[in-house]
């Protein structure tokens, strides 16, 4: 965002090498400046000498100044005391008599002398205030002007003639100066040759409460940090002589000044030094990276503190100017009229702002400028703010009310009222004709009053009759109007109605991540105070990033803000008072809320992920390749190594029926999304017609069933974190397959109403029985799965799917037909399930090995995999058990044994 003229251009004196001294005397070439920087027409230099001798001088000076203050103050008080004592001695009789003052009295003499002392105190105070200078004020430039002022070629001769010279040391805050001096001491302690960035950082961390707080917000482990940073300090070159400020450290101070200049702060603060120190030292950055902190994070935290400061200042300005504003709705010149009728249906936003009821608006300077430009310049003074719910339209209008209170608006908006008219109040309990009449009267009053700026929220909700009245009133151009609507409402209602041509559209976009974080930084303080907790910087960043990623049906900053409010309450209840809320706390809450895996991978979870194959094999027999492929893609997704603009994984399961394709999908749903319920299952054989697209994404508006939404889109909209299982994909109509191209590539699909449905958090699994006989044949012939897959892709699959479609799958997984051995294992699994069911009734169940093999043999069919097995168990085991149970042959604690030949034997439990 910075333009060229904001960049510093350094000039180092070649005669003295930047030290400002030649043979311990002032360098003549640079006049002792050593090094300068050119900034926007100003010549900056560091004017304060820092070495042991001068440091001692400064310390002594500070001490003397303090001592002088105290002495002067005591003397002043003593004078007043003497006067009082003189009055007392006189019994307060003659004090108004001239003679009392003319009689010689040592007490009076002391009093008069003390007046001089008081005067000197005033003088002394003014002098020390004048010694501090403010950072030069950055001029506002138009966009076209940016970058034009290229810095000139600098040398010491031109500098003598050039612009204003600024000694930046005078603009550093007291704390910042102390940090610089402290840095020198620290460098000396480490016997460093030069004072470097790390010394600045250590000094700041030790002596500045603000800097400590900032690093606390970064949730840093102070002990660890101190240890590592002192190791960095030890790596600096060392010598026995006194350290000095080299070019780099002066550069840091110059850059810190530039920071303050760009941010329009009055003084260079300790945080400016910290930011520049971190930026200029690779080793510090490495230490911070190790602690999961980037230089950008440090900058953003500094910004956070700056925003708080700015907000506080803004608040003071608002409060200061609010006292000048009228309470009655009449302007200060008393030209306006009372609007008693309008007041029944509206809310005076400026009055609310005056009383301090509205929250502060952060940023949005560009949009405000646009509103002012349009209202001031164009002939019709009506605008409409167009933006989706939650992007901050209302916040902007409330911000405008505050700007009006502070007179921070163009003249035509000053001393006016911003009134929000409520359409629902207008319509309440009235027929259309009465509502029309009410609206007429309101508009009439507004025009008569002349000081009302009308705001109507959600313009698209107005009935057409009222819109017509509004159009008529606006076309007279007699008052300023601001409306707001969402994108859809603008497109469908406003643009199509007569008012659309009058209103000038101002697009309010969703703020980007960084601006949203800044908005949160401005609001965090209130949530913190309310819940008695503290947010770390990560918490704010995560609130924005995670809502941006997982909550697509709402907008920033609103969704992040509501989440943060929720986090506040949650933290208060679960973590206790005065705790620092971390980024992971926010992630945990959002995981709980949405059922996604957003929080950091915990130890137990990472163990689980590493053993994923084992866990899946508890339910899936064999199919090693398939299980491995799925496990790998889940691990990739959880380690955040996937693209976030596509579904988590697109998988195609190929293989004969009854080998575990759907079962594997269920297992994934359970392992990754927590429950088998989180699965959207579509049988693609139901979508063989082209017309069935409308069932998938919803019927177009106006058609039957258009209000229901599509079976796929609606399901994903409601459960964005789930498995989408497309069974028997090859049976679907080719046009429907085309629909999935976009889903697999971009992770989104637009439904019939124009809503974009987010697919980036689903796992898309398609199963297909295509070419089953081919697979079976090859497996029987002993061809490896790898080879079968290659052959399938090259030739066989092309008759079912287009190549571009096949290519979109991350993984095509071949399920091999089951052999008898696998079916035996499956029988065992299924019988375990039977045992589990009986256990719930208090009955024990066992099946001996021969019986299992017999069952498997019966249920095994090379063509249908394990599917007949379920039927076999149902027939042979479940049916018999049911009969036994119903006839009461099995009681609680009995042991039921399945023997060879399907015989069920009951061993009665011992009587108690």
């Amino acid at each position: 965002m910075e333009n060229n003229s904001d960049n510093l251009q350094f000039l180092v004196c070649s005669a003295c090498g930047g030290s400002g001294l030649v043979d311990r005397k002032k360098c003549k070439t640079c006049q002792g400046k050593g090094m300068t920087a050119y900034l926007d027409g100003y010549i900056l230099f560091w004017g304060e000498k820092i070495n042991t001798r001068f440091l001692r001088l400064y310390k002594l000076e500070r001490f003397i100044t303090k001592a002088v203050y105290i002495i002067l103050f005591i003397l002043g008080l003593f004078g007043i005391f003497c006067l009082g004592y003189a009055f007392y001695l006189d019994n307060f009789i003659n004090i108004l008599n001239l003679s009392f003052w003319q009689i010689k009295n040592p007490l009076l003499l002391i009093f008069w002398l003390s007046i001089f002392v008081d005067m000197y105190l005033v003088y002394y105070f003014a002098l020390s205030a004048a010694a501090k200078e403010k950072v030069i004020v950055k001029k506002y430039k138009s966009i076209n002007e940016k970058g034009i002022i290229a810095p000139p070629e600098l040398d010491w001769q031109t500098i003598k003639k050039l612009g204003r010279k600024v000694d930046i040391s005078k603009a550093f805050s007291e704390e910042a100066i102390l940090i610089i001096e402290h840095a020198f001491d620290i460098a000396k302690k480490y016997s460093a040759t030069e004072v470097g960035p790390v010394h600045f950082l250590i000094a700041a961390l030790i002596s500045s409460k603000n800097v400590q707080n900032m690093f606390m917000r970064l949730s840093i482990d102070f002990e660890d940090f101190a240890l590592k940073i002192s190791r960095v300090a030890a790596k600096y070159p060392q010598s026995d002589s006194e350290p000095f400020f080299n070019q780099n450290s002066i550069k840091i101070l110059l850059k810190a000044y530039r920071n303050a200049y760009i941010n329009r702060s009055e003084q260079v603060l300790s945080s400016d030094i910290v930011v520049e120190s971190v930026k200029s030292d690779k080793l510090i950055q490495e230490v911070l990276t190790d602690l999961n902190i980037t230089p950008e994070k440090v900058e953003n935290v500094v910004l956070w503190y700056r925003i708080r400061e700015i907000l506080h200042k803004q608040w003071l300005i608002y409060r200061g100017s609010a006292r000048l504003k009228s309470k009655t709705g009449i302007d200060r010149a008393m030209t306006a009229l009372q609007t008693s009728f309008l007041n029944q249906f509206s809310e005076d936003l400026t009055l609310l702002a005056k009383s301090g009821y509205l929250p502060l608006c952060i940023g949005r300077e560009k949009e405000f400028a646009e509103i002012f430009r349009i209202l001031e310049g164009s002939s019709v003074k009506s605008v409409v703010l167009v933006g989706d719910a939650g992007v901050g339209k209302t916040a902007m209008v409330e911000g405008l009310a505050q700007k009006m209170i502070a007179d921070d608006v163009p003249e035509f908006l000053q001393d006016k009222r911003l009134v929000s008219l409520s359409i629902s109040q207008l319509l309440a309990g009235a027929s259309i004709s009465i509502a029309q009449e009410r609206f007429y009267r309101c508009l009439n009053e507004i025009i008569m009053a002349g000081n009302v700026i009308l705001f109507i929220d959600n313009l698209h909700d107005m009935i057409p009759e009222l819109i017509e009245i509004l159009t008529e009133a606006l076309s007279k151009n007699a008052f300023i109007f601001i409306g707001s609507t969402n994108t859809e409402g603008y497109k469908n209602v406003i643009e199509r109605s007569s008012v659309g041509s009058i209103l000038k559209k101002i697009q309010i976009n969703e703020p980007d991540i960084n601006s949203a974080v800044q908005i949160l930084e401005g609001k965090a303080g209130f949530i913190e105070a309310k819940n008695n907790i503290y947010f770390s910087y990560d918490a704010l960043e995560q609130a924005v990033k995670l809502t941006d990623r997982y909550m697509h049906d709402q907008n920033l900053p609103y969704k992040a803000l509501t989440l943060l409010e929720e986090v506040g309450v949650w933290a208060k209840n679960n973590l206790g008072a005065n705790v620092m809320v971390s980024g992971n706390d926010v992630a945990t809450l959002i995981s709980e809320k949405l059922g996604v895996k957003a929080a950091e991978v915990t130890q137990s979870e990472s163990e689980k992920l590493l053993k994923l194959e084992e866990i899946i094999h508890n339910r899936i027999i064999d199919q090693d390749e398939a299980v491995k492929a799925v496990a790998n893609s889940l691990r990739r997704a959880r380690a955040e190594l996937r693209e976030t603009k596509r579904p988590i994984a697109n998988l195609l399961f190929l293989g004969p029926t009854g080998v575990g394709k759907t079962e594997l999908a269920k297992v994934i749903a359970e392992v990754y999304f927590g429950s088998e319920e989180n699965m959207i299952r579509l049988d693609m054989s139901e979508y063989q017609e082209k017309s069935s697209i409308s069932r998938l994404i919803g019927a177009p508006p106006g058609y039957e069933g258009s209000s229901e939404g599509g079976q796929l889109t609606e399901a994903v909209r409601q459960k964005p974190f789930s498995i989408v299982l497309l069974d028997e994909l090859e049976k679907a109509h080719p046009d429907i397959l085309n629909l999935f191209l976009q889903v697999m590539d971009d992770g989104r699909l637009t439904d019939s109403t124009g809503r974009t449905i987010d697919f980036t958090n689903v796992i898309l699994i398609a199963t297909s029985n295509a070419q089953t006989s081919f697979i079976q044949e090859k497996v029987n012939a002993g061809v490896s799965l790898e080879e079968i897959k290659r052959q399938l892709l090259e030739t066989e699959l092309k008759q079912y799917f287009k190549l571009e479609f096949i290519n979109r799958f991350d993984n095509i997984i071949i399920f091999k037909p089951l052999g008898l051995e696998e079916v035996i294992k499956i029988s065992r699994l299924l019988l375990q399930q039977v045992a589990k069911n009986l256990e719930a009734k208090g009955i024990n169940f066992q099946a001996n090995e021969e019986a299992i093999v017999e069952l498997a043999n019966e249920g095994y069919d090379p063509q249908f995999g394990a599917r007949p097995l379920r039927r076999a168990i149902q027939d042979k085991v479940d049916n018999a058990l049911a009969q036994y149970l119903l006839t009461g042959k099995i009681g609680k604690r009995d042991l039921v044994i399945l023997d060879k030949g399907g015989v069920i034997r009951v061993e009665k439990a011992k009587e108690l």
């Binding site: 002594l60 000076e61 009076l108 005033v122 003088y123 009229l337 002349g450």
Partner: protein, 121 residues
Amino acid sequence: MKRDSALRLLVLLLIDELKAILYFPLWWYSKGLLNVIKGCGNWINDFQQTLGFMIWVKNLFVPMFGQRDIPGRIISFFLRLVQIIFRGFIVLIFAILNLIFIICWIILPIFVLYQIYIQLF
């Protein structure tokens, strides 16, 4: 050697303080006075704004409460005139108070010197 340099530092600082004392009378009647005048000016302006004096002056011919008919305009004019005179009077008093303060600032050193003279001789 160390003590020597400390002494030199102290001398340096004392010279600075001495300079400051000598500059004091000059400051009182130059920069100091200017600061006081500026401060009073801001204060008066602030007070004027609180009363809305200039707003009333600017709107002298604008009818009050949207009464744009002739009688309304005439009544408005006189009402505003009365308001302006009344408000102007208050601003004036405030300005005079400020002026007194400035005059005090100017004569204070001389007055105190005179009083000390009386006490001594």
